[in-house]
Amino acid sequence: MATSPFFTDLDQIFIILRDWLVGFLPASWRPAACVVLEVIIIICVFPGLFALTTVFERKGLGRMQNRFGPNRVGPYGLFQPIADGIKALIKEDIVPFSANAVVHFLAPLSLVVAVFMEFAVLPMGRNMVLVDLDAGLLFFFSMSVSTELSVFMAGWSSRNKYSLLGAMRAVAQMISYEVVLLLSSVSVVMIAGSLSLSTIVAAQSSYSGIFPHWYIFTPWGLAGFVMYAIAATAETNRSPFDLPEGESELVAGYHTEYSGFKFALFFLGEYLAMFSISGLGTTLFLGGWSAPLSFLTFIPSWIWFFSKVMLSIFVFIWMRGTLPRLRQDQLMNFAWKFCLPYTLLTLIVTALWHFMGEGWMRWVVCTAILAAIYVFMGRVEMRSEHFGPRRYRYAE
């Protein structure tokens, strides 16, 4: 559909604004100024989104439990994050006497910095990517892995048994699910033939009829997306995989000994990780900034990107409101005995899809293989001793 210049301008409004602002500077400063401006915008937009998400999460969870949620501060409780922020800022910053003060201080900082770095390679709209790296996916995952280090720094330096247990659980969980996360995105790389996130989005932004060519609409893409979503939930320590900070067992896990603004930084880091991993999932499987139907392309690309991210966040919240926490052995069994084999199978099916060429045949074959193995694993493997109710040998 041919779009009018108005919609094209609206689509590129941030690029136009940036160029206009940078135009006031001498030519030699412009590239650096561009980057600084974009970084500032990322640092402002996502924490703002974080503030909104905290209040919407609390309200949404409340509604799922048939109660109101926060509605006291401002209209509909929308100013709640401001009150929370002020509270976090004026609280006393306590560092335990026996803690390693330097590492204790660095842990939340390094977490937030690493998470912010992830946004650098995410294409948030047409031409809207801070650095379009050729190996953007690799950069993203290297940054997201380094958050594990921060978590362990926090748990180890606090010198508290709950912190340490939480950190150990977090590292075990994140490393296990990191494998699934990486492998499920590898199938996208196999089809798109590139590690650059902009290229991956571009590969999905064509339409047949009115329907888009998103990878989630293929058998292997759907299977990969489900595995990606499970692994992403575990990576961000969200319910039902919130064992590292399971408050009924571990007080607050690795951030037990943090208070005031350092705690707020951990909270921010957790939510930013959710945004970035949803952004990556959107980019890989949901067509990034492209519109869901071909006649909706006039709506600016950045609106599509952010609405897809917020939709994923809503699903995160929805799952948190529904599912109880897993047990540690269930968590590990699920990662290594179900998710990993199934993701490997998805990889094989992706290769099959690629080599079978165009036609309806590959749809039937790939769907049949994936569905059959899914049902088989659910019926046989997941009902085995390892997954069922736990038997207590000495209690019987």
């Binding site: 799922m64 529904t322 899914y374």
Partner: protein, 204 residues
């Protein structure tokens, strides 16, 4: 099928999520300072002293018998008996409390004082917003703060109050009938200066 339970659970929470915007029955929350649940008739929070008529000091039913003071398990009632007497509801001369204090920070709302009172003078209130910023004087209620009219008692516990009124009325009627009989007897005595008296007294 694997994941079926998860989908069922998600459907349930989604039903709650959207349903809470549609049906009011789902949201059972009462937003307290703005709205309140009306208290039920049997509610009890803290005792008060009942008075009849318009003047609280003259109408107090309490006769300072100090039974409640002695029975109170946490000992939160302090009574001083008066030196003089005043007429009660039947007109009989009775003592009255010159001091009647209850420490509401100590009171445990057990209602024992109400149950032991032979004069229907102390009853339970339903008022529950008793917070104060003065934790010494503000929590020790004197007899003026404790006094509530019988009409107020009727408004919070209608059934119980009418029972009490009926009982008191009966007693009053009995006393009045007795008084009338006594008066009639006296009048009869005065009217007929006992000619047959020797016959009654005779035979001894």
């Amino acid at each position: 099928m694997l994941g079926e339970g998860i989908l069922k659970g998600m459907a349930e929470t989604a039903r709650n999520f959207f349903g809470s915007y549609v049906s009011k029955e789902r949201l059972t929350t009462v937003e307290y300072p703005e709205e309140r649940i009306p208290t039920v008739e049997a509610a009890r929070v803290f005792p008060f002293l009942v008075y009849d008529g318009a003047d609280w000091e003259a109408g107090l039913r309490c006769v300072a018998c100090q039974i409640c003071e002695k029975e109170c398990p946490p000992k939160c009632i302090y009574i001083d008996k008066s030196k003089d007497k005043k007429p009660d509801y039947v007109g009989k001369q009775q003592f009255y409390p010159s001091r009647f204090d209850i420490d509401i920070s100590v009171c445990m709302s057990c209602q024992i004082c109400v149950e032991v009172c032979p004069f229907e003078a102390i009853k339970m209130d339903t008022e529950y917003e008793l917070a104060t910023d003065d934790r010494f004087g503000g929590l020790l209620y004197d007899r003026k703060q404790l006094a509530r009219s019988n009409e107020y008692y009727h408004s919070i516990h209608p059934t119980e109050a009418s029972e009490v009124d009926a009982r008191l009325g009966e007693e009053k009627a009995k006393v009045e009938a007795k008084a009338r009989a006594a008066a009639e007897a006296a009048a009869a005595k005065v009217a007929a200066p006992a000619p047959p008296a020797p016959t009654i007294g005779g035979g001894s």
